[in-house]
């Protein structure tokens, strides 16, 4: 009787434990599946953005243009050189309307490539050159089979005439697919085939630099005071509670603060990494303070006692022992805080960093935008190519953030000590 009872209880317990295990494993699998779906869908839709279609044009400069070039390359009318060279490849296209259509196969920035070619190869001025220039975004999508050429003409953004010109180019082997390095070397543009992320990447780096040099020292020193020096009383309790609250404040509130204080009151430059960095530093501060305090609190008291025991002063105990031992934890917290700031858009909205800015910033007071802001703006653009560019930009931002987190893990592994 008792034996039977024990056995039933035992089996029941085993079943319950098995169920519990299955629940938790399936939760994990579900989470991983969602994450994998998200990342793979972004990765797949970003593939077209990493290649670009180029069209080869026969370019030959006449004597006048060579003279102009030797005087000053800016004197050459590059646009008309591009048009004339391209039209001469299609002698049967005659009307103004058809020529215009033909020219639309090329990117509006195609002449820049021609100019670049001659600046790089001045010895080829008198030659017949084949110069590859970016195709327009519609051609790009058609060649990549994203626009269906079998659709009726009025349902696609590229006309039958244009397709026939393209077919001629294809049969002449003048279409070339290359990796779109311009994603990293160009800054933002209204033309998808010219748009790149350099402005956003540099803007993000400058902003993160400002964020780091402000939030790290202030955060660490404040945490040292609160954890090691401050007396434990009501006042420090209130500060502690409020720091924890600040970590949970919606990020746009920091943007409003930046707008009210830094732009309107202190007249700092609008749209600048300086202000963006300060705002994000304020947002990151509580994260760094909490991480630093946790890291220092985890140092065993025996180490402090040992140091005090040989007559170290409080500063020596902190500087020689507590801080170095807590450093891996502090760095991890800081990098995770900074990575969170790097993915932030809302606070930057309020201080004008969510803007179309073509120039690459070179200092922290220049006008700039950041990667997440650029992603948001690209997602709003009507051209279909921006859909793929947006995915590519998200992927690049994710890679940067993952690398930052990896750095945090490596630093922790490297400096971690046991006691």
């Amino acid at each position: 009787m008792t034996d039977n009872f024990t056995e039933i209880r035992l089996r029941k317990r085993y079943r319950a434990e098995k169920r519990f295990k299955i629940y938790s494993v399936s939760a994990l699998i579900l989470a991983l599946l969602i994450l994998a779906t998200l990342i793979s869908s972004i990765a797949i839709s970003s593939i077209p953005a990493f290649t670009q279609i180029n069209i080869g044009i026969d370019v030959k400069m006449n004597d006048d243009q060579i003279l102009q070039f030797e005087e000053d390359p800016e004197n050459v009318s590059w646009r008309s050189l591009q048009k004339k060279s391209f039209y001469s490849m299609f002698p049967d296209v005659e009307t103004r309307k058809d020529k215009k259509e033909l020219n639309k196969l090329l990117s509006t920035g195609a002449y820049i490539e021609i100019k670049k070619f001659y600046l790089d190869n001045p010895n080829k001025l008198p030659d017949n050159n084949i110069i590859y220039v970016p195709a327009s975004d519609d051609v790009d999508l058609l060649i990549k089979d994203i626009i269906d050429r079998d659709l009726p003409q009025d349902m696609r953004t590229i006309s039958d005439n244009q397709i026939s010109y393209l077919d001629k180019l294809i049969s002449n082997n003048r279409i070339k697919k290359t990796i779109s390095w311009r994603l990293f070397s160009n800054s933002d543009s209204r033309e998808p085939e010219l748009a790149g992320l350099k402005g956003g990447i540099v803007g993000t780096l400058l902003t993160m630099f400002v964020t780091l040099i402000i939030s790290f020292p202030i955060g660490v020193l404040a945490a040292i005071y609160l954890e090691e020096i401050a007396p434990k009383n009501k006042f420090t309790d209130i500060i502690e509670v409020n720091i924890n609250n600040l970590a949970a404040v919606p990020s746009i509130v920091y943007g409003l603060l930046g707008l009210a204080v830094f732009l309107n009151y202190m007249n700092m430059p609008r749209s600048a990494p300086l202000v963006g960095g300060i705002v994000l530093a304020l947002m990151t501060l509580p994260v760094i303070i909490i991480a630093t305090r946790a890291a220092m609190a985890s140092i065993p008291p025996s180490i402090r006692e040992a140091a005090y025991g040989v007559g170290a002063s409080q500063m020596q105990v902190i500087v020689h022992h507590v801080f170095p031992l807590a450093l891996p934890g502090i760095l991890t917290g800081t990098i995770i805080g900074i990575a969170r700031a790097a993915g932030e858009t809302a606070p930057l909205l309020m201080i004008g960093m969510m803007a179309f800015i073509v120039d690459v910033p070179s200092k922290i007071t220049d006008k700039a935008t950041v990667l997440p802001a650029q992603i948001y703006m690209w997602a709003n653009n009507p051209e279909r190519s921006f859909e793929y560019l947006t995915s590519a930009a998200i992927l690049i931002l994710l890679v940067i953030l993952i690398m930052m987190n990896l750095l945090a893990i490596l630093l922790r592994k490297k400096y971690e000590r046991r006691w």
Binding site: E305, Y308, G309, G311, L325, R418
Partner: protein, 255 residues
């Protein structure tokens, strides 16, 4: 002022943790270059008392020490006393070996470095060598001074901590149950060491082991529930206790 032949004199020392009184009116005189053992059941305040002697209790939030503690005729609780210099003069060894997560050399050299005791690297080498020799660890570590202090065994770590404490040239050594985390062999080594060290240092040792107190100390104080019950020459305490509570403890009826 009446000249005082004692190294440490405490009068009416009371310690409070918040509202709870941990020590009541402790009056104790400790002689120079002797081993004084503090025994008693857990929670009786012997560790609290030893931590008063180098003001380690200052580090504990809400701990208040009253009364007078004179070391070499100086009141260590007076505002003029510099706590850093006080702790440099009074070495401390803790219950659990707690070497810094640094090399063996740096563990011993840390104290002399922060107090500026060595004028050159050679000086420092000499201090480290001398301290490790006095702590009886030199022969075991002389060829691996760069190894981490944490790579040593428990007993070796505790001797490293003793070397670290004596490297700053203290004249008093406080030992808070230095053998409680060690095996019997390591304990025997440390006890032997303490016997050698008492030629140079005044030693106050807290211990749970009555045999250890009997083997090592000249004087023994028995603490119970925050009060000092009896303080006498060790042999008297163990063979002829005056107080019945002391007798109960050493015969194993309290503990």
């Amino acid at each position: 002022m009446i000249p005082n032949q004692y190294k440490i004199t405490t009068s009416n020392v009371n310690v409070d943790y918040g509202n709870k009184r941990a020590l009541h009116d402790i009056n104790l005189q400790i002689e120079e270059k002797e081993v004084t053992a503090l025994i008693g059941p857990s929670g009786c305040g012997k560790s609290t008392f030893i931590r008063c002697l180098n003001r380690m209790n200052d580090l504990i939030e809400g701990c208040k020490v009253e009364g007078k503690i004179m070391i070499d005729e100086v009141d260590i609780n007076s505002p003029d006393t510099d706590i850093v210099e006080l702790r440099a003069r009074i070495g401390m060894v803790f219950q659990k070996p707690n070497p810094f997560p640094k090399s063996i050399y740096d563990n011993v050299a840390y104290g002399p470095r922060i107090h500026g005791l060595a004028k050159s690297n050679e000086d420092l080498d000499n201090i480290v060598t001398k301290s490790l020799k006095r702590a009886g660890l030199w022969n075991e570590v002389e060829d691996r001074l760069d190894a981490s202090g944490l790579s040593l065994s428990g007993g070796q770590q505790q001797r490293l901590c003793i070397a670290r404490a004596i490297a700053v040239n203290p004249d008093i050594l406080l030992m808070d149950e230095p053998c409680s985390a060690l095996d019997p062999i390591a304990t025997a080594v440390i006890e032997e060491l303490i016997n050698e060290l008492k030629e140079r240092y005044t030693i106050v040792i807290v211990t749970h082991s009555m045999q250890q107190a009997a083997r090592l100390s000249e004087k023994t104080a028995y603490f119970h529930l925050g009060k000092m019950i009896e303080y006498d020459i060790t042999s008297n305490i163990f063979t002829n206790p005056k107080h019945e509570m002391t007798e109960a403890y050493i015969s194993g009826r309290i503990g």
